[in-house]
Protein backbone atom coordinates (compact mmCIF):
# COMPACT_ATOMS: atom_id res chain seq x y z
CA UNK A 1 0.00 0.00 0.00
CA UNK A 2 2.60 2.49 1.05
CA UNK A 3 5.19 0.89 -1.23
CA UNK A 4 3.62 1.73 -4.56
CA UNK A 5 3.55 5.55 -4.28
CA UNK A 6 7.15 5.59 -3.19
CA UNK A 7 8.24 3.56 -6.17
CA UNK A 8 6.30 5.89 -8.43
CA UNK A 9 8.24 8.87 -7.10
CA UNK A 10 11.56 7.09 -7.50
CA UNK A 11 10.74 6.45 -11.13
CA UNK A 12 9.80 10.08 -11.60
CA UNK A 13 13.19 11.11 -10.24
CA UNK A 14 14.96 8.70 -12.58
CA UNK A 15 13.10 9.99 -15.64
CA UNK A 16 13.83 13.54 -14.57
CA UNK A 17 17.55 12.97 -14.31
CA UNK A 18 17.95 10.83 -17.42
CA UNK A 19 19.49 12.62 -20.38
CA UNK A 20 17.72 10.43 -22.91
CA UNK A 21 14.30 8.80 -23.03
CA UNK A 22 14.37 6.26 -20.22
CA UNK A 23 13.07 2.83 -21.14
CA UNK A 24 11.05 0.61 -18.84
CA UNK A 25 13.83 -1.99 -19.06
CA UNK A 26 16.36 0.52 -17.85
CA UNK A 27 14.11 1.54 -14.95
CA UNK A 28 13.60 -2.09 -14.02
CA UNK A 29 17.32 -2.71 -14.25
CA UNK A 30 18.02 0.23 -11.93
CA UNK A 31 15.32 -0.80 -9.49
CA UNK A 32 16.32 -4.45 -9.53
CA UNK A 33 15.43 -4.71 -5.82
CA UNK A 34 11.76 -4.42 -6.81
CA UNK A 35 9.82 -7.01 -8.79
CA UNK A 36 9.72 -5.88 -12.44
CA UNK A 37 5.94 -6.13 -12.57
CA UNK A 38 5.65 -3.76 -9.64
CA UNK A 39 7.97 -1.26 -11.32
CA UNK A 40 5.84 -1.36 -14.43
CA UNK A 41 2.71 -0.84 -12.37
CA UNK A 42 4.27 2.11 -10.58
CA UNK A 43 5.36 3.60 -13.88
CA UNK A 44 1.82 3.42 -15.19
CA UNK A 45 0.58 5.08 -12.03
CA UNK A 46 3.09 7.85 -12.52
CA UNK A 47 2.02 8.33 -16.13
CA UNK A 48 -1.61 8.51 -15.11
CA UNK A 49 -0.82 10.96 -12.37
CA UNK A 50 1.14 13.32 -14.63
CA UNK A 51 -1.42 13.02 -17.41
CA UNK A 52 -4.32 13.91 -15.17
CA UNK A 53 -2.70 16.69 -13.16
CA UNK A 54 -2.16 20.21 -14.39
CA UNK A 55 1.25 21.84 -14.62
CA UNK A 56 3.88 22.99 -17.04
CA UNK A 57 5.48 19.65 -17.68
CA UNK A 58 4.40 16.11 -18.36
CA UNK A 59 5.92 12.76 -19.23
CA UNK A 60 5.61 11.32 -22.72
CA UNK A 61 6.75 8.08 -24.28
CA UNK A 62 8.95 8.83 -27.26
CA UNK A 63 11.94 7.29 -28.96
CA UNK A 64 11.60 4.08 -26.96
CA UNK A 65 11.49 5.61 -23.50
CA UNK A 66 9.90 8.06 -21.12
CA UNK A 67 10.90 11.68 -21.01
CA UNK A 68 9.78 14.91 -19.40
CA UNK A 69 8.49 17.52 -21.82
CA UNK A 70 6.79 20.84 -21.53
CA UNK A 71 3.09 20.74 -22.29
CA UNK A 72 2.25 21.93 -25.81
CA UNK A 73 0.34 24.98 -24.62
CA UNK A 74 3.56 26.44 -23.21
CA UNK A 75 5.36 26.31 -26.53
CA UNK A 76 5.16 30.10 -27.09
CA UNK A 77 6.86 30.91 -23.79
CA UNK A 78 9.48 28.22 -24.12
CA UNK A 79 10.38 29.53 -27.54
CA UNK A 80 10.49 33.07 -26.21
CA UNK A 81 12.86 31.93 -23.47
CA UNK A 82 15.07 30.00 -25.90
CA UNK A 83 14.89 32.81 -28.44
CA UNK A 84 13.65 30.49 -31.15
CA UNK A 85 11.05 32.07 -33.41
CA UNK A 86 9.72 28.79 -34.69
CA UNK A 87 10.99 25.34 -35.30
CA UNK A 88 11.45 24.60 -38.95
CA UNK A 89 9.15 21.97 -40.34
CA UNK A 90 9.79 19.49 -43.09
CA UNK A 91 8.83 20.56 -46.60
CA UNK A 92 6.06 18.61 -48.28
CA UNK A 93 8.59 17.02 -50.64
CA UNK A 94 10.69 15.91 -47.64
CA UNK A 95 7.69 14.59 -45.78
CA UNK A 96 6.53 12.67 -48.85
CA UNK A 97 9.94 11.13 -49.43
CA UNK A 98 10.30 10.32 -45.77
CA UNK A 99 6.97 8.50 -45.60
CA UNK A 100 7.90 6.51 -48.69
CA UNK A 101 11.14 5.43 -47.03
CA UNK A 102 9.29 4.68 -43.79
CA UNK A 103 6.71 2.44 -45.43
CA UNK A 104 8.81 0.86 -48.14
CA UNK A 105 12.17 0.45 -46.44
CA UNK A 106 14.66 -0.83 -47.37
CA UNK A 107 14.35 1.21 -50.55
CA UNK A 108 16.61 2.68 -53.22
CA UNK A 109 16.59 6.19 -54.60
CA UNK A 110 15.23 5.13 -57.98
CA UNK A 111 12.39 3.28 -56.29
CA UNK A 112 11.53 6.40 -54.31
CA UNK A 113 11.63 8.56 -57.42
CA UNK A 114 9.43 6.05 -59.27
CA UNK A 115 6.82 6.15 -56.51
CA UNK A 116 6.75 9.93 -56.48
CA UNK A 117 7.22 10.32 -60.23
CA UNK A 118 9.69 13.00 -59.27
CA UNK A 119 13.47 12.90 -59.07
CA UNK A 120 14.18 12.69 -55.34
CA UNK A 121 17.97 12.83 -55.14
CA UNK A 122 18.03 16.30 -53.63
CA UNK A 123 15.31 15.53 -51.11
CA UNK A 124 17.01 12.34 -49.94
CA UNK A 125 20.20 14.33 -49.48
CA UNK A 126 18.49 16.80 -47.17
CA UNK A 127 16.94 13.93 -45.22
CA UNK A 128 20.36 12.33 -44.85
CA UNK A 129 21.75 15.61 -43.58
CA UNK A 130 18.91 15.87 -41.08
CA UNK A 131 19.71 12.29 -40.04
CA UNK A 132 16.12 11.23 -40.60
CA UNK A 133 17.20 8.54 -43.06
CA UNK A 134 20.39 6.54 -43.30
CA UNK A 135 22.19 4.42 -45.86
CA UNK A 136 22.28 0.80 -44.75
CA UNK A 137 23.99 -0.85 -47.67
CA UNK A 138 23.72 -1.58 -51.35
CA UNK A 139 21.14 -3.55 -53.21
CA UNK A 140 22.38 -6.56 -55.14
CA UNK A 141 20.97 -5.41 -58.45
CA UNK A 142 22.39 -3.67 -61.51
CA UNK A 143 24.38 -0.63 -60.44
CA UNK A 144 24.37 -1.72 -56.80
CA UNK A 145 22.23 1.24 -55.70
CA UNK A 146 22.31 2.46 -52.11
CA UNK A 147 19.61 1.31 -49.73
CA UNK A 148 17.89 3.77 -47.42
CA UNK A 149 16.12 3.29 -44.10
CA UNK A 150 14.65 5.60 -41.50
CA UNK A 151 16.62 6.35 -38.32
CA UNK A 152 15.91 6.42 -34.59
CA UNK A 153 15.82 10.17 -34.94
CA UNK A 154 12.97 9.80 -37.40
CA UNK A 155 10.97 7.96 -34.73
CA UNK A 156 11.73 10.55 -32.09
CA UNK A 157 10.95 13.41 -34.48
CA UNK A 158 7.41 12.16 -34.93
CA UNK A 159 7.09 10.92 -31.36
CA UNK A 160 6.96 7.28 -32.45
CA UNK A 161 8.41 4.44 -30.43
CA UNK A 162 8.77 2.01 -33.31
CA UNK A 163 7.86 1.69 -36.97
CA UNK A 164 4.76 -0.23 -35.88
CA UNK A 165 3.33 3.07 -34.72
CA UNK A 166 3.33 4.57 -38.22
CA UNK A 167 -0.18 5.45 -39.43
CA UNK A 168 -1.95 2.16 -40.17
CA UNK A 169 -3.86 1.12 -43.28
CA UNK A 170 -7.10 1.82 -41.41
CA UNK A 171 -6.06 5.34 -40.41
CA UNK A 172 -4.99 6.01 -43.99
CA UNK A 173 -8.24 4.61 -45.37
CA UNK A 174 -10.15 6.85 -42.98
CA UNK A 175 -8.28 9.93 -44.21
CA UNK A 176 -8.93 8.96 -47.81
CA UNK A 177 -12.63 8.46 -47.07
CA UNK A 178 -12.86 11.89 -45.43
CA UNK A 179 -10.99 13.48 -48.29
CA UNK A 180 -13.51 12.32 -50.82
CA UNK A 181 -16.36 13.92 -48.91
CA UNK A 182 -14.46 17.13 -48.21
CA UNK A 183 -13.63 17.80 -51.85
CA UNK A 184 -16.74 19.79 -52.56
CA UNK A 185 -15.54 23.27 -53.39
CA UNK A 186 -14.71 23.41 -57.09
CA UNK A 187 -11.81 25.46 -58.26
CA UNK A 188 -12.63 28.48 -60.38
Amino acid sequence: MTMAPELRDIIEALIFISLEPLSLEKIQETLSDYPPSEVEKALNELLQKTASSAGGITIIQSGGGYVFTTRPEFDPWVRRFLKIDRKSKLSSASLETLSIVAYHQPITLSEISALRNVDSSYTIKTLLEKKLVKITGRKKSPGNPLIYRTTERFLAYFGLNSLDELPTEEEIAKILGEDQTVEQAPKP
Binding site: L95, L166, I175, E183
Partner: protein
Protein backbone atom coordinates in the same frame (compact mmCIF):
# COMPACT_ATOMS: atom_id res chain seq x y z
CA UNK B 1 -21.46 40.37 -35.86
CA UNK B 2 -17.73 40.25 -36.15
CA UNK B 3 -17.76 36.56 -36.58
CA UNK B 4 -18.84 36.43 -40.17
CA UNK B 5 -16.20 38.42 -42.01
CA UNK B 6 -13.54 36.71 -39.94
CA UNK B 7 -14.74 33.34 -41.02
CA UNK B 8 -14.88 34.45 -44.60
CA UNK B 9 -11.23 35.45 -44.57
CA UNK B 10 -10.32 32.24 -42.87
CA UNK B 11 -12.06 30.30 -45.58
CA UNK B 12 -10.35 32.21 -48.35
CA UNK B 13 -7.02 31.73 -46.60
CA UNK B 14 -7.40 27.99 -46.48
CA UNK B 15 -8.61 28.13 -50.05
CA UNK B 16 -5.40 29.81 -51.05
CA UNK B 17 -3.41 27.08 -49.36
CA UNK B 18 -5.11 24.56 -51.59
CA UNK B 19 -3.94 26.54 -54.57
CA UNK B 20 -0.32 26.03 -53.70
CA UNK B 21 1.87 24.70 -56.45
CA UNK B 22 1.71 21.03 -57.24
CA UNK B 23 4.91 19.32 -56.22
CA UNK B 24 4.80 16.61 -58.85
CA UNK B 25 2.67 15.18 -61.62
CA UNK B 26 0.95 12.65 -59.35
CA UNK B 27 0.04 15.46 -57.00
CA UNK B 28 -1.71 17.31 -59.81
CA UNK B 29 -3.35 14.18 -61.24
CA UNK B 30 -4.80 13.20 -57.89
CA UNK B 31 -6.12 16.68 -57.42
CA UNK B 32 -7.84 16.61 -60.81
CA UNK B 33 -9.30 13.18 -60.14
CA UNK B 34 -10.82 14.39 -56.89
CA UNK B 35 -11.95 17.66 -58.37
CA UNK B 36 -13.75 15.92 -61.23
CA UNK B 37 -14.97 13.22 -58.85
CA UNK B 38 -13.50 10.59 -61.10
CA UNK B 39 -13.36 6.93 -60.16
CA UNK B 40 -9.66 6.29 -59.84
CA UNK B 41 -10.10 2.77 -61.24
CA UNK B 42 -11.80 4.03 -64.36
CA UNK B 43 -10.11 7.24 -65.39
CA UNK B 44 -11.41 8.93 -68.54
CA UNK B 45 -7.99 9.61 -69.97
CA UNK B 46 -9.10 12.21 -72.53
CA UNK B 47 -10.82 14.35 -69.89
CA UNK B 48 -8.01 14.13 -67.42
CA UNK B 49 -5.34 14.82 -70.05
CA UNK B 50 -7.14 17.96 -71.20
CA UNK B 51 -7.42 19.23 -67.64
CA UNK B 52 -3.85 18.27 -66.92
CA UNK B 53 -2.46 20.16 -69.91
CA UNK B 54 -4.59 23.12 -68.91
CA UNK B 55 -2.83 23.29 -65.57
CA UNK B 56 0.54 22.83 -67.15
CA UNK B 57 -0.06 25.95 -69.17
CA UNK B 58 -0.86 27.97 -66.06
CA UNK B 59 2.71 28.02 -64.99
CA UNK B 60 2.11 29.45 -61.55
CA UNK B 61 0.34 26.28 -60.52
CA UNK B 62 3.21 23.87 -60.77
CA UNK B 63 6.67 23.68 -59.35
CA UNK B 64 8.66 24.83 -62.37
CA UNK B 65 11.76 22.94 -61.27
CA UNK B 66 9.77 19.85 -61.99
CA UNK B 67 8.45 20.90 -65.37
CA UNK B 68 10.16 18.04 -67.21
CA UNK B 69 8.48 15.51 -64.95
CA UNK B 70 5.10 17.15 -65.50
CA UNK B 71 5.60 17.02 -69.24
CA UNK B 72 6.68 13.39 -69.03
CA UNK B 73 3.39 12.56 -67.32
CA UNK B 74 1.50 14.39 -70.06
CA UNK B 75 3.29 12.20 -72.59
CA UNK B 76 2.38 9.11 -70.59
CA UNK B 77 -1.28 10.14 -70.52
CA UNK B 78 -1.34 10.66 -74.26
CA UNK B 79 0.40 7.35 -74.75
CA UNK B 80 -2.23 5.60 -72.65
CA UNK B 81 -4.99 7.26 -74.64
CA UNK B 82 -3.45 6.13 -77.91
CA UNK B 83 -3.23 2.59 -76.54
CA UNK B 84 -6.89 2.71 -75.64
CA UNK B 85 -7.82 3.90 -79.11
CA UNK B 86 -6.03 1.11 -80.91
CA UNK B 87 -8.48 -1.31 -82.47
CA UNK B 88 -8.05 -4.78 -81.04
CA UNK B 89 -9.28 -8.11 -82.17
CA UNK B 90 -9.81 -9.39 -78.64
CA UNK B 91 -10.83 -7.38 -75.60
CA UNK B 92 -7.95 -6.57 -73.25
CA UNK B 93 -7.41 -8.72 -70.21
CA UNK B 94 -7.06 -7.13 -66.77
CA UNK B 95 -3.27 -7.24 -66.93
CA UNK B 96 -3.09 -5.56 -70.30
CA UNK B 97 -5.22 -2.56 -69.39
CA UNK B 98 -3.03 0.41 -70.42
CA UNK B 99 -4.19 2.48 -67.45
CA UNK B 100 -3.26 -0.17 -64.94
CA UNK B 101 0.25 1.08 -64.24
CA UNK B 102 -0.88 4.64 -63.71
CA UNK B 103 -3.78 3.59 -61.48
CA UNK B 104 -1.47 1.51 -59.29
CA UNK B 105 0.86 4.44 -58.98
CA UNK B 106 -1.92 6.83 -58.09
CA UNK B 107 -3.37 4.51 -55.48
CA UNK B 108 -0.02 4.10 -53.81
CA UNK B 109 0.69 7.81 -53.99
CA UNK B 110 -2.70 8.58 -52.51
CA UNK B 111 -1.90 6.38 -49.53
CA UNK B 112 1.44 8.07 -49.06
CA UNK B 113 -0.22 11.47 -49.15
CA UNK B 114 -2.69 10.38 -46.50
CA UNK B 115 0.11 9.03 -44.32
CA UNK B 116 1.89 12.35 -44.82
CA UNK B 117 -1.07 14.30 -43.51
CA UNK B 118 -1.13 12.16 -40.36
CA UNK B 119 2.62 12.50 -39.90
CA UNK B 120 2.34 16.23 -40.43
CA UNK B 121 -0.08 16.47 -37.51
CA UNK B 122 2.29 14.42 -35.39
CA UNK B 123 5.16 16.66 -36.39
CA UNK B 124 3.13 19.67 -35.36
CA UNK B 125 2.36 18.10 -31.98
CA UNK B 126 5.93 17.07 -31.38
CA UNK B 127 7.35 20.47 -32.27
CA UNK B 128 5.33 22.02 -29.46
CA UNK B 129 6.88 19.67 -26.90
CA UNK B 130 10.22 20.62 -25.48
CA UNK B 131 12.48 18.26 -23.63
CA UNK B 132 15.47 19.34 -21.68
CA UNK B 133 18.08 17.60 -23.76
CA UNK B 134 16.77 19.49 -26.75
CA UNK B 135 17.84 22.75 -25.18
CA UNK B 136 20.62 24.42 -27.11
CA UNK B 137 23.80 24.71 -25.07
CA UNK B 138 24.02 27.98 -23.22
CA UNK B 139 26.37 30.41 -24.87
CA UNK B 140 29.80 30.16 -23.26
CA UNK B 141 31.11 33.31 -21.63
CA UNK B 142 33.01 35.07 -24.35
CA UNK B 143 36.41 33.44 -24.42
CA UNK B 144 37.53 33.17 -28.01
CA UNK B 145 40.00 30.59 -29.14
CA UNK B 146 43.21 32.45 -28.80
CA UNK B 147 46.29 31.92 -30.86
CA UNK B 148 49.47 33.80 -30.44
CA UNK B 149 50.42 35.60 -33.62
CA UNK B 150 53.76 35.62 -35.30
CA UNK B 151 55.58 38.82 -36.08
CA UNK B 152 54.70 38.27 -39.72
CA UNK B 153 51.03 38.31 -38.94
CA UNK B 154 51.52 41.45 -36.98
CA UNK B 155 53.44 43.05 -39.81
CA UNK B 156 50.75 42.07 -42.24
CA UNK B 157 48.11 43.58 -40.04
CA UNK B 158 50.26 46.62 -39.75
CA UNK B 159 50.20 47.19 -43.49
CA UNK B 160 46.48 46.80 -43.54
CA UNK B 161 46.13 49.29 -40.77
CA UNK B 162 48.48 51.57 -42.64
CA UNK B 163 46.33 51.40 -45.73
CA UNK B 164 43.25 52.21 -43.71
CA UNK B 165 45.03 55.12 -42.10
CA UNK B 166 46.26 56.38 -45.44
CA UNK B 167 42.79 56.10 -46.86
CA UNK B 168 41.73 58.64 -44.30
CA UNK B 169 43.90 61.05 -46.20
CA UNK B 170 44.58 63.58 -43.53
CA UNK B 171 47.40 66.06 -43.38
CA UNK B 172 50.49 65.18 -41.46
CA UNK B 173 51.52 67.91 -39.07
CA UNK B 174 55.19 68.39 -39.44
CA UNK B 175 57.61 69.04 -36.66
CA UNK B 176 56.06 66.77 -34.11
CA UNK B 177 58.05 63.74 -33.17
CA UNK B 178 56.95 60.75 -31.28
CA UNK B 179 59.24 58.74 -29.16
CA UNK B 180 59.12 55.00 -29.09
CA UNK B 181 59.65 55.02 -25.39
CA UNK B 182 56.78 57.36 -24.77
CA UNK B 183 54.43 55.28 -26.85
CA UNK B 184 55.52 52.12 -25.08
CA UNK B 185 54.81 53.75 -21.77
CA UNK B 186 51.49 54.92 -23.10
CA UNK B 187 50.53 51.40 -24.19
CA UNK B 188 51.61 49.97 -20.84
CA UNK B 189 49.61 52.64 -19.09
CA UNK B 190 46.55 51.76 -21.13
CA UNK B 191 47.08 48.10 -20.33
CA UNK B 192 47.48 48.72 -16.65
CA UNK B 193 44.32 50.75 -16.69
CA UNK B 194 42.09 48.41 -18.74
CA UNK B 195 43.94 45.10 -18.60
CA UNK B 196 43.45 44.63 -22.32
CA UNK B 197 44.04 46.80 -25.33
CA UNK B 198 42.30 46.66 -28.65
CA UNK B 199 45.21 47.63 -30.83
CA UNK B 200 43.18 48.54 -33.91
CA UNK B 201 41.22 50.90 -31.76
CA UNK B 202 44.39 52.30 -30.22
CA UNK B 203 46.00 52.65 -33.63
CA UNK B 204 43.05 54.55 -34.97
CA UNK B 205 43.05 56.83 -31.96
CA UNK B 206 46.51 58.08 -32.88
CA UNK B 207 46.44 61.67 -34.01
CA UNK B 208 48.36 61.09 -37.23
CA UNK B 209 50.15 58.59 -39.37
CA UNK B 210 53.50 59.10 -37.70
CA UNK B 211 52.06 58.51 -34.26
CA UNK B 212 50.28 55.45 -35.57
CA UNK B 213 53.47 54.01 -37.03
CA UNK B 214 55.35 54.66 -33.84
CA UNK B 215 52.60 53.02 -31.84
CA UNK B 216 52.93 49.89 -33.93
CA UNK B 217 56.71 49.83 -33.53
CA UNK B 218 56.18 50.27 -29.84
CA UNK B 219 53.95 47.26 -29.79
CA UNK B 220 56.60 45.21 -31.59
CA UNK B 221 59.17 46.40 -29.08
CA UNK B 222 56.92 45.46 -26.18
CA UNK B 223 56.38 42.01 -27.60
CA UNK B 224 60.08 41.58 -28.18
CA UNK B 225 60.76 42.58 -24.61
CA UNK B 226 58.13 40.02 -23.58
CA UNK B 227 56.28 42.67 -21.66
CA UNK B 228 53.05 42.10 -23.49
CA UNK B 229 51.29 39.31 -25.29
CA UNK B 230 49.52 40.03 -28.55
CA UNK B 231 46.78 37.89 -29.94
CA UNK B 232 44.90 38.10 -33.19
CA UNK B 233 41.81 35.92 -33.45
CA UNK B 234 41.71 36.01 -37.20
CA UNK B 235 43.72 37.54 -39.97
CA UNK B 236 42.92 41.20 -40.56
CA UNK B 237 41.06 41.42 -37.30
CA UNK B 238 42.15 43.55 -34.46
CA UNK B 239 45.12 42.60 -32.30
CA UNK B 240 44.42 42.25 -28.63
CA UNK B 241 47.21 43.05 -26.25
CA UNK B 242 47.69 41.90 -22.67
CA UNK B 243 50.45 42.46 -20.19
CA UNK B 244 52.64 39.39 -19.87
CA UNK B 245 52.26 38.88 -16.15
CA UNK B 246 48.53 38.85 -16.62
CA UNK B 247 48.91 36.25 -19.28
CA UNK B 248 50.57 33.96 -16.75
CA UNK B 249 47.74 34.21 -14.29
CA UNK B 250 45.31 33.55 -17.11
CA UNK B 251 46.64 30.10 -17.80
Amino acid sequence: MNDLPLRATEASESYRVRLEVFEGPLDLLLFLIRKKKIDIHNIPIAVITREYLDYLNREDQINLDREAEFVLMAALLIHIKSQLLLPREEPLTEGEEPRRFLVDQLLEYQKIKAACSILKEREEEQLALWTREALPPLPEPAEPDLAEVSLFDLAETFFILMKRKQAENFRVVRGQTYSLEEKMKDIIAELEKDGILDFLDYFNRQENLEAAIVSFFSLLELIKARLVMAVQERLFQTIKVWLRRESKSRQ
